[in-house]
Symmetry: none
Subunit: 298 residues, 2 copies
């Protein structure tokens, strides 16, 4: 409980720069102990006392209490996955949001965070859910929290350019999982695309209509559950044919696509991970630029 905190942790938690915090320590406003090498170590109790007495009543003193800080390292990501998983299971929205945001600030891409941290955490949660070790409501609550974290991250991205390539997509009927499609939207926007999720449980007919009316560069379809394989294959192929006819690339992915099913699908790109998707759309971007260059200088 009285674990030593680093100046960086405390500074970030209360929203001031490390420099200021160090100055306050040196000025005696905040009791510090030093390691043998001269590094400052702060104790939680002292920090809280400082916040109370100095009149420096900070927004969220509770933040420094519980969460250990996210690092920037490559190994930090694996730990982040565990911490996110625990925060999600415990229903701690603030903590989850903070870990995700810290990772992003530390330089991890949204794509990376989704693929390696969130997806991993949900894989574990889903496993626990299938084994009956995790209550259903915890899994659902975790989805709600993760969705909020994703939307939060989304707001940190710049708005796409009005002439950026357009992508629309979502999940088909009987597939209520909103997280995958929210992730796709997020990472596409990170790549500068005008991505717009149409949501979940979309009848194929209305997706077709959306393609007709919006003529997107890419249509993405997220497949988390399949009710009837033959029906799915039929609906999907119709959709695919229509989209390609209208000049839209079709990207499909999701955990419900087995190797067996995949073999029977036509698609412009298949994504096991969001990384694959990003690679694909960036290749499209490069091709478009080449075409534009050619058109500009004939």
């Amino acid at each position: 409980m009285n674990q030593p905190l680093s100046p960086k942790q405390v500074a970030q938690a209360i929203g001031v720069s490390e420099s200021s915090l160090k100055r306050w320590c040196d000025r005696g406003l905040l009791k510090t102990v030093r390691t043998a090498g001269g590094h400052r170590r702060l104790e939680l109790g002292d920090v809280l006392r400082f916040l109370r007495t100095s009149g420096h009543q900070v927004a969220r003193p509770d933040l420094i209490g519980l969460p250990p800080q996210a690092g920037q390292g490559t190994t930090a990501r694996n730990k982040a996955r565990e911490r996110v998983r625990d925060a999600l299971l415990a229903g701690d929205e603030q903590l989850c949001r903070r870990i995700v945001y810290d990772l992003y600030v530390a330089g991890h891409s949204a794509c990376d965070i989704c693929d390696n941290v969130l997806a991993g955490a949900f894989h574990e949660i889903g496993h626990g859910w299938e084994c009956g070790k995790v209550q259903v409501y915890r899994e659902r609550r975790a989805c709600e929290i993760a969705l909020k974290a994703l939307y939060d991250l989304r707001r940190a991205l710049p708005d796409p350019a009005v002439d950026a390539p357009l992508a629309i997509g979502g999940s088909l009927e009987f597939d209520p999982y909103c997280l995958p499609t929210a992730m796709v939207e997020l990472v596409l926007r990170e790549s500068g695309w005008r991505a717009m999720s149409l949501g979940t449980m979309l009848p194929p007919a209305t997706l077709a209509e959306a393609v007709r009316e919006n003529e997107p560069d890419v249509l993405w379809i997220s497949i988390s559950t399949i009710r009837s394989v033959p029906e799915f294959l039929d609906e999907y192929s119709q959709l695919h044919d229509l989209a390609t006819t209208l000049g839209s690339a079709v990207v499909v992915g999701g955990r419900a696509i087995t190797a067996e099913i995949r073999r029977q699908l036509s698609y412009s790109a298949f994504g096991d991970t969001l990384r694959h998707l990003v690679t694909f759309v960036e290749a499209m971007d490069r091709r478009t630029q080449r075409v534009r260059k050619r058109t500009a200088r004939p």
Copy 2:
């Protein structure tokens, strides 16, 4: 995220001089915290509260983390519904978010916005959808956009106190509508409650488990569709009995509850609108305070 804002940022955002802003702070019109060195730090929630009461417009919303162009539009509520409806149907996320924000900054409560603007807009959209005049995907896309606007608004609210009363809830199986439950969460948080949506399509058994494990003061259930009335009545009554036994009030509402069904339900409160819900929880708050006062002075 909820990072403190500097007086300069806020002054530029509102479009007034730094001097005036400092004076307002010192006069107590705008809550401020001070750094250890004596510099003022403002929180976004407090700034918004000030804007709402003072009637100032926002010149540069981007400077304080608000969506671009927010806080300078019209604030008439009756027209707002039409404008939101059109923005939702057109898939214009920015515009929708902006209108909602403008309303909030202009002093309308989140509850009011949900009840009178968003719900109204979706009522019309739903009607158009049933008549076949509105494509399904447009309705779904509208949900996605509205959800983002709601989460955005949520961020503007202060975090609930750790000892605030707890409310959990969601929608039952076969009911995938996430908007109502997101609205409930939002307005409860606006009333200072620790509200946590568990999401949609929850099996009654896991809701029961959630009540057992979290012992909330209120359990809310949002009913947008009912698959089988007898099954629903059976499941609901079990849930209701369990919750009341454990000391949780049960609040139920939703467009699927007809007068006929309502007559057969037991509940602590029924909400046709979010306003009803807020009235109920605020009555609970007052009762709690009375009890506390009595306990404090015997």
